[in-house]
């Protein structure tokens, strides 16, 4: 059980000296955002040019996804070249087309019978159509292309950017009492060189809870809008509106430098959902399309115990979720966590 101790120690923070505490701490992983100016929405692309073994876990009940069947471990293709996350509901899946174009222009992809290039780009979208302007403004293929063009291995920019630009949280008493969500990222590095990192666009129906304290960071506000109401209390007192499609969904990616099989990558994605469970309440509702992709770059060949990596993935995902709302900034109608703390 040595890895438990390591995981707990690692969860307290990065190894001293590490400067990048985001997804791009995993070598070979690049992240790019593109944020639309006409309405708060956008897309975020995670690129692995050399390919990464991948898995997915869809556990929310209102998903919008593409190429997730391909990630079933019984299916043939083993590696992906990018993950495309976007706002814009099912319309936003179009941003994936732009990522495909970007990768194809660079001949990055699965080589079908040796010479035909087919980029493998699973995608998921969250639903932000009713936030801050015309719902007709949505990420398109152009968004995905521009996000890919801007991708780099620099520390990930967090807050109201990319797929998190129009994200909100705390909607179980209606939109008037919701708060701003956003995009967060976190990374853990253990002394033996294992890196596990997460990126997440948090647009949950539920509240965001810091598992380290049990306290709500952002969520449904009280009727006067000035304090947090606590979804856990509202659920038991009857002041609860069922989550609706068209409002929610939390999308994430966990990545590691370990070597995993496709089946193990699926397991890591599944365990990372525990990070949602701990940091979002309620989570995985009928109105959330909660989805997590897992990427394993295989750049280290050491101990790849899947339970250890999965546990770290859940931890780092929780951290990324908390960061998503702490780094968010308020927009009209949706104050951010930092605004309430004033």
């Amino acid at each position: 059980m040595r890895w438990v101790v390591l995981a707990v120690a690692a969860a307290q923070g990065l190894t001293p000296g590490a400067s990048n505490t985001t997804l791009t701490a995993v070598p070979g992983v690049k992240v790019g955002h593109y944020t639309l100016t006409d309405r708060p929405t956008g897309c975020t692309v995670v690129i692995v040019e050399d390919g990464a073994t991948a898995g997915v876990d869809v556990r929310g009940s209102a998903p919008a996804t593409a190429e997730t069947d391909l990630l079933n471990p019984i299916n043939l293709v083993q590696q992906v070249h990018a993950i495309s996350l976007s706002g814009g509901s099912a319309f936003g899946l179009d941003s994936r087309s732009g990522v495909m174009r970007y990768l194809d222009e660079r001949n990055i992809g699965f080589k079908a019978f040796g010479n035909l290039n087919v980029p493998i780009v699973p995608a998921a979208s969250l639903i932000d159509l009713n936030v801050g302007g015309s719902p007709k403004i949505r990420p398109t293929a152009e968004c995905g292309y521009l996000a890919a063009t801007g991708a780099s291995d620099a520390p990930v920019v967090e807050g109201n950017v990319g797929a998190g630009a129009g994200a909100t949280v705390g909607k179980i008493a209606g939109f008037a009492r919701a708060m701003k969500g956003g995009l967060g990222s976190a990374a853990l590095q253990t002394p033996d060189g294992l890196i596990v990192a997460a990126i997440v666009a948090v647009n949950a129906a539920g509240d965001i809870i810091d598992p380290a304290t049990g306290k709500i960071v952002a969520g449904t506000r009280t009727a006067d809008g000035k304090a947090l109401a606590d979804a856990r209390v509202l659920l038991t007192t009857g002041a609860f509106q069922p989550p609706r499609i068209g409002e929610n969904t939390t999308l994430g990616v966990v990545a590691t430098n370990a070597t995993l099989t496709k089946t193990q990558a699926a397991k890591v994605a599944a365990m990372a959902q525990d990070g949602y469970a701990r940091a979002i309440f309620p989570s995985h509702t009928m109105g959330d399309g909660d989805t997590i992709f897992a990427l394993a770059t295989g750049r280290t060949t050491g101990d790849a115990d899947v339970s250890r990596i999965g546990a770290l993935a859940a931890d780092v995902m929780s951290q990324a979720i908390v960061r998503a709302v702490r780094q968010a900034t308020g927009i009209p109608g949706y104050p951010a966590a930092r605004d309430l703390n004033k």
Partner: protein, 350 residues
């Protein structure tokens, strides 16, 4: 004994229904569009044999999916999981062009939105458009020519409730079968469709774009309809080749995939629609050999419009769906025309 008795009773019901189908019922000539409320449109690219086929649902339909091939390219299939919330589908897109071809769905979504069709989500309507692609990049020209959003838009625009055009059109334009004998021995296939109408008013229909690794077999005769060719223009029979121990071409990603849908006018829950899709996969098993390989992304969607006010057991509907699908697969072989130097079955019979 009780469960077994119930099983026998259900199977007797199916047998009675199937015999009724071959006797009193007739087959509508219009294939998938025999299911009222469904419209089918193809768009075929002129630069290379590829394209897309869009099935537009007037009103909407409960949807399901069965994804059993090993190299799929799909969109919005997670949404069809019966655990998940949205239980209505506005259109299904089938496309050539490999993973690139999923973009065709973008155009269909646009067309539906322009017509105010979609799942109500706050201020918007979000068109629900599951999609699947097949791999035809290696057929007849530049692999960079692929169906785009424009294809999905135009196919939706021309969708009609009239008889469905079959053969080398739409998503089946670049489809081929019989690839276990390696390059140069395949046969052209395409789009096929079939429908079954019972005296009760129940309609079950199928549409498919057949681009299988395997041969197309007519389950009624056991004979190869289209598949691996011999130099003399006869069929080698993939089943014989597999048993012979001959050095065969393992199925490769980038060449294959059979995609289709089955539809009924019955009312089904989302879970039963998934069961219908699953049973329809038996139609692939019967009419394609080998089927569901690691190099096929075989996928079947199901739609239940609920426009018929009668009731029918899911076992009957699923069994008929497998029948209609097998019929449609055979027609995909018999109705195709040769393209890009790849002959169709009808060319070989001359």
């Amino acid at each position: 004994m009780k469960p077994f008795g119930a099983f026998v009773a259900v199977m007797s019901l199916v047998a009675a229904a199937l015999s009724a189908q071959s006797g009193a019922s007739t087959r509508a000539s219009s294939g998938l569009t025999a299911v009222e409320g469904l419209r089918v449109g193809h768009y075929t690219l002129s630069e290379r044999p590829t394209g897309c086929t869009v099935i537009v649902v007037d009103g909407d339909a409960v949807g399901g999916v069965s994804q059993r091939g090993g190299a799929p390219g799909t969109r919005e299939t997670d949404l069809l999981d019966p655990l998940n919330m949205v239980d209505k589908v506005n259109a299904i897109v089938l496309s050539g062009g490999s993973a690139f071809g999923l973009e065709a769905a973008t155009g269909t979504v646009r067309w539906l939105e322009e017509h105010g069709i979609g799942w109500p989500a706050g201020p918007s309507r979000v068109p629900i458009v599951p999609a699947a692609i097949l791999f035809d990049l290696g057929v007849g020209g530049n692999p960079r020519i692929r169906p785009t959003a424009d294809c999905g838009y135009k196919a939706a625009e021309v969708a009609t409730a009239g008889p469905v055009t079959e053969g080398s059109v739409g998503a089946g334009a670049g489809a081929t079968v019989g690839k276990i004998g390696g390059a140069g021995r395949s046969t052209k296939a395409g789009i096929g469709t079939a429908s079954i109408r019972l005296a009760s008013g129940l309609v079950v229909a199928a549409l498919v774009a057949v681009n299988a690794v395997g041969d197309i077999i007519d389950p009624a005769t056991g004979k190869v309809v289209a598949g691996v060719r011999n130099p003399d223009g006869t069929f080698a029979d993939a089943r014989v080749l597999l048993r012979s121990g001959a050095s065969l071409q393992p199925p490769r990603a980038g060449e294959n995939t059979t995609i289709g849908l089955v539809a009924t006018n019955a009312t089904l829950t989302k879970a039963l629609a998934a069961r219908m899709a699953l049973m329809a996969d038996d139609g692939y098993a019967r009419a394609i050999s080998p089927s569901h390989t690691n190099g096929d992304g075989d996928t079947i969607f199901s739609l239940a419009t609920g426009r018929w006010d009668g009731t029918a057991d899911i076992t009957l509907i699923g069994a008929l769906a497998a029948e209609a699908m097998a019929d449609a697969v055979v027609r995909a072989g018999t109705q195709a025309t040769g393209v890009a130097g790849i002959p169709a079955a009808r060319d070989l019979r001359k």
